[in-house]
């Protein structure tokens, strides 16, 4: 961005923009019908999943096809807490979900970071299939194909609040978590740690030559990414009150990559925009052509066109500005 003396500083504009978007999202439940409220909440959740993966794709240069593992284990972790502990507790569900996702994160990170580039993509893909097979076939614990059903816990703050979630309060809760995660992830990418990740993206050999333990950095990056993906999984479980093996299937990972590429990698906001764009496209197509319409065919064409003609994604033009 060219610097002008009289104009507002970059930081001011950034935070004004952030507040405007937040205000719009906070006000959304007052203007939207229940259907669109839920729709928007889901976009935020998918956005968080995509954003977590952006830490790897956009900032470290590792394309992960395994984020469904973290997302799914977040879901099943939350389900475990809600089904086993009486009365169901919101915070315990989040804790369990994050523990599940982080455990899987450590496992996946340890093995998959031993290889690079396309091998990393392939390896993470295979890991998502491993977890899918385990969850799908271990019927006694995971409910197999049918998944697990549970009811949403109350929103509780000990001794202060104990309220039932409505569509609107759920939206605000998700918004708070997603916005908080965004700020955290932004902070991480701008920290010295994040700088090392970006240097790995630019030139891994040189980063190693300077003396950074590249693999350890990558492991931590994958784990962090998995942590936030697990958080998205917990939110999705809370929003929809079920956990199903379909979400561990690699298709979810593929969607995550699509959101990133459409929205623009390395921007953190882009993946949310990409998720919104994708979900709107899907909703629009199924309204025009009916539910049976294979919306993924046109979506696939859009995806390919964006890679070839707009490799930076929809928000690519703002990449430098957003990371400043």
């Amino acid at each position: 961005m060219p610097e002008r003396k009289a104009a507002l500083s970059h930081t001011t504009i950034y935070w004004i923009g952030f507040c405007v978007v937040m205000a719009l999202l906070i006000a959304a439940p007052f203007a939207l019908s229940t259907f669109w409220q839920r729709f928007l909440t889901e976009i935020l959740i998918w956005g968080l999943l995509a954003m977590s993966s952006d830490l790897l794709i956009g900032y470290t240069g590792m394309v992960s096809f395994g984020h469904s593992v973290f997302f799914g284990l977040g879901m099943y972790g939350a389900a475990a807490a809600l089904l086993m502990v009486k009365p169901p507790n919101l915070w315990l569900a989040i804790l369990f979900g994050l523990a599940g996702a982080s455990g899987a994160g450590l496992f996946v990170a340890y093995f998959s970071t031993r290889v690079r580039d396309i091998y990393f993509a392939i390896t993470t893909l295979i890991f998502s299939q491993i977890f899918y097979v385990i969850i799908f076939t271990w019927t006694s614990v995971t409910g197999g194909e049918n998944g697990l059903l549970f009811s949403r816990p109350h929103f509780t703050i000990p001794f202060l609040v104990d309220a039932r979630f409505t569509t609107a309060t759920m939206h605000w809760f998700v918004l708070a978590v997603v916005a908080g995660s965004y700020l955290l992830l932004r902070r991480i990418t701008q920290s010295p740690f994040g700088m090392v990740l970006q240097s790995i993206r630019e030139n891994e050999a040189r980063t190693r030559a300077i003396g950074f333990p590249v693999q350890r950095y990558k492991i931590v990056a994958v784990m962090l990414s998995g942590f936030f993906a697990g958080l998205a999984g917990v939110l999705y479980a809370l929003q929809n009150e079920f956990a199903a093996p379909d979400f561990v299937y690699f298709v979810t990972s593929g969607d995550t990559v699509i959101f990133n590429v459409i929205g623009g990698i390395g921007t953190l906001v882009g993946p949310i925009v990409g998720a919104g764009f994708f979900q709107l496209l899907r909703e629009m197509l199924s309204r025009i052509f009916g539910d049976q319409f294979p919306y993924l065919i046109p979506a696939g064409f859009v995806f390919i066109a964006i890679i070839i003609f707009l490799p930076q994604g929809l928000l690519g033009f703002a990449r430098r500005w957003l990371n400043k």
Partner: protein, 295 residues
């Protein structure tokens, strides 16, 4: 003594034969994948979908003409042409960009093809009967000759590929391009044509394996993913871009899965090949047979 007699020897032998048969089909799929990777640096995510489309085309042609072999040739030819078209329209613009772009584009292609198949053919598994109806006795089983024949044919196709790469003019072009693209271009080799040709070749091989597999397991729109995953495991275990390595790894992994499915259900037997992959990553991340590119 007890342990020795508790091993089901007949079953082991039957599964060995089964494992080699599926291993040869897998080797055919994986050698197409590794050929495309070795020469173009493209990880073809859509390889499984080309396999699946080949199988569907085979089923359709067999249903109309009644001849399996026409189906095999037509499917391989049509999918090879489709592969060439895909390469020209989507991969050629990406030459010179980060190879990760190619995995994304081919992922998009696989999405389109898979959903097209789902839309066009539905989820019902289609069956096609084996073109060779005779059987031989293997212990208590009537084992179909067709399976043995498939393994032989797959081996023959791979052998033909090797001879083609080694002795034909186009094969020399391919090997030259693998070694040094710029130099090959400077020597007058039409490199873009070589790329398109190689992609078409790989696509045709995937389609042929799809048709050969169709009588064994039926045809469904989602079969592509299973195969591309297995093929990925094979190329990682065998060493990416290493043709010989992928063939050995394909047979090894299919045998492991075949043995495992004696004791657990086939859907769980896949885990064995996952474990093989993890162990490979742990002890020899470059693959069992190194990373040297087939020359």
């Amino acid at each position: 003594m007890d342990i020795l007699s508790s091993i089901p020897w007949e079953l082991l032998l039957i599964q060995t034969v089964n494992g080699i048969v599926t291993g040869m089909i897998l080797a055919l799929v994986a050698s197409g994948l590794t050929l495309i990777f070795g020469i173009m640096d493209v990880v073809n995510f859509a390889h499984g979908e080309l396999f699946m489309l080949g199988a569907y085309l085979g089923v359709i042609v067999v249903a109309t003409t009644g001849n399996f072999w026409i189906g095999l040739v037509v499917a391989a030819g049509v999918v090879a042409i489709l592969g060439a078209a895909l390469q020209v329209s989507t991969l050629r613009p990406l030459i010179g960009r980060d190879p990760l772009n190619t995995i994304l584009v081919t992922f998009g292609i696989s999405l389109i093809l898979q959903n097209y198949a789902l839309w066009q053919f539905g989820t019902v598994v289609r069956k096609v009967s084996e073109p060779i109806g005779s059987y031989f006795t293997l212990f208590y089983l009537q084992y179909p000759w067709y399976r043995i024949f498939v393994a032989g044919l797959a081996a023959a196709i791979i052998g033909a590929l090797y001879v083609f790469l080694k002795y034909s003019k186009f094969g020399v072009w391919i090997r030259a391009t693998t070694q040094d693209r710029t130099m090959a271009q400077a020597m007058g080799i039409p490199v873009p044509l070589v790329y398109t040709g190689v992609f078409a070749l790989g696509a045709g091989m995937a389609a042929a394996s799809g048709v050969l597999f169709a009588p064994l397991g039926g045809v469904a729109p989602t079969m592509g993913l299973d195969w591309v995953l297995k093929a990925f495991i094979v190329v990682v275990v065998g060493g990416m871009g290493n043709l010989g390595g992928s063939i050995v790894a394909a047979i090894l992994i299919s045998l492991l899965e075949a043995y495992a499915s004696i004791w657990v259900s086939p859907s769980q037997a896949v885990i064995v090949s996952f474990i093989a992959l993890i162990l490979t990553l742990l002890f020899k991340p470059t693959g069992l047979f190194g990373t040297t590119v087939t020359r």
